[in-house]
Symmetry: C2
Subunit: 272 residues, 2 copies
Amino acid sequence: MTPVERAQMAMILEVTASPKPGNVDRCHDYESTRLEHFLSSAILARPALEKAAGCSGGIGEILKEAVRLTTAHGGGNTHFGAFILLVPLLRGGDIPGAIRAVNETTVEDAVRFYQAFSLTKVRMLPGDPLDVADPRATDRIREEGITLFDVMDHSRENDMVAREWVNGFRLTRRAADELHRIGCGREGIVGAFLSLLATGIDTFIVKEHGASVAEEVRRRAGEVLAGREDLGAFDAECIARGINPGSTADIIIAGIYTALGEGWEWDCSRKE
Amino acid sequence: MTPVERAQMAMILEVTASPKPGNVDRCHDYESTRLEHFLSSAILARPALEKAAGCSGGIGEILKEAVRLTTAHGGGNTHFGAFILLVPLLRGGDIPGAIRAVNETTVEDAVRFYQAFSLTKVRMLPGDPLDVADPRATDRIREEGITLFDVMDHSRENDMVAREWVNGFRLTRRAADELHRIGCGREGIVGAFLSLLATGIDTFIVKEHGASVAEEVRRRAGEVLAGREDLGAFDAECIARGINPGSTADIIIAGIYTALGEGWEWDCSRKE
């Protein structure tokens, strides 16, 4: 499997793994965002992923292309957070390489990233000093010499995907380790997902529903892992309330990409 | 969307469309062949599909490569029948082009096809004069000057996928027409699937379960379309009995590829 195929496989394996509390999965759609939107995004992003794995194009430009290729469908943003992690991982090959790649990002990468952001419907936190909807944001980036790494550093508090860039892809590493520990296939993915959900606040839930809902999800994921709450019922309630741990899903994708490169087996039937 | 992306999308849209009586779909796996095997096959076949869409390599050689790329997983044969249709469609661009491409196949294409066949677990009909398990089969192909088109012509009675090659991709055309008639997305695919199932015998079911079971499935698909039998219950019974209309699924994939090229919309949310 080539690195790009690993990235595409990570996207399809994550979205089809089930049951994952609150997310689009094999058994659940949201009205406007459906399983097919995620699967098509894994297919259609390929040219951008190939550029990331090759030597052509900056990370910001590639992120913009990935978003452009995958927002043609009507399902809104699907894999934007995943691309923010996969593009440096593909450029660097693995986590140490990705750490080098994000540290080398430039002001031009930051400008392109803001252009990519404005193509999505991703919500910013109120009061973010660099509002993507503000046409002067890119001027300010150039004037102040802000790199894409600086942008992520700025967002580290409020965005767990951005935080990966500045703390050495810590949760990506943890997700991959959980996959190795729990085992092959779908069960490994669901287990790693619950494990991440139980130990940290999903910042996408914070943006959509506030901190107390995000904390409730964290606590109840722990109850599921402890066998005190039913996974299916928790999933159904999250879906009904529109509570969707999207940033945890992005990190799981990066973790699957990493684990596949380290020999983790997506196909349990090959082990039989 | 490039032609190769259309082929990949056709494979993922077909397998995730649900409910389809008896087949692996979004809600059903077979023990040894799971949704992920089909999705991974759509991702991993790409280099072969690119060759088919380009000008390099014969159709037999490309089919062999497609099978080699997609049998690395433990799920056995997933898309072999679909590749038999998609490779000439990609080479020719559309149905008229595919008709030209299959007519130009050579003896060497036939030899490679038999090598591809022997990599799969696809069952032959007893008494087939060209048994793929027979090491002398390729000698006989060369001695008698049998082209890949001749091989398909030989199998036209017993294999509805082979029959497409020699009758102008008649059911592929019909599947695409049904998609246009029924409408966008998942509902269109399920409707086209039932329509094909109700009007012809699925030869894969004949191979696995005999002609009378295949005829029962044809008749009951008609009852579902007429509203006299419940689709979900029929699906559940087919799954329980291991009755899997795999050749109809292959033709639906070719039909989706064709319809996408003619403007059929896979994403109903884009029409809203």
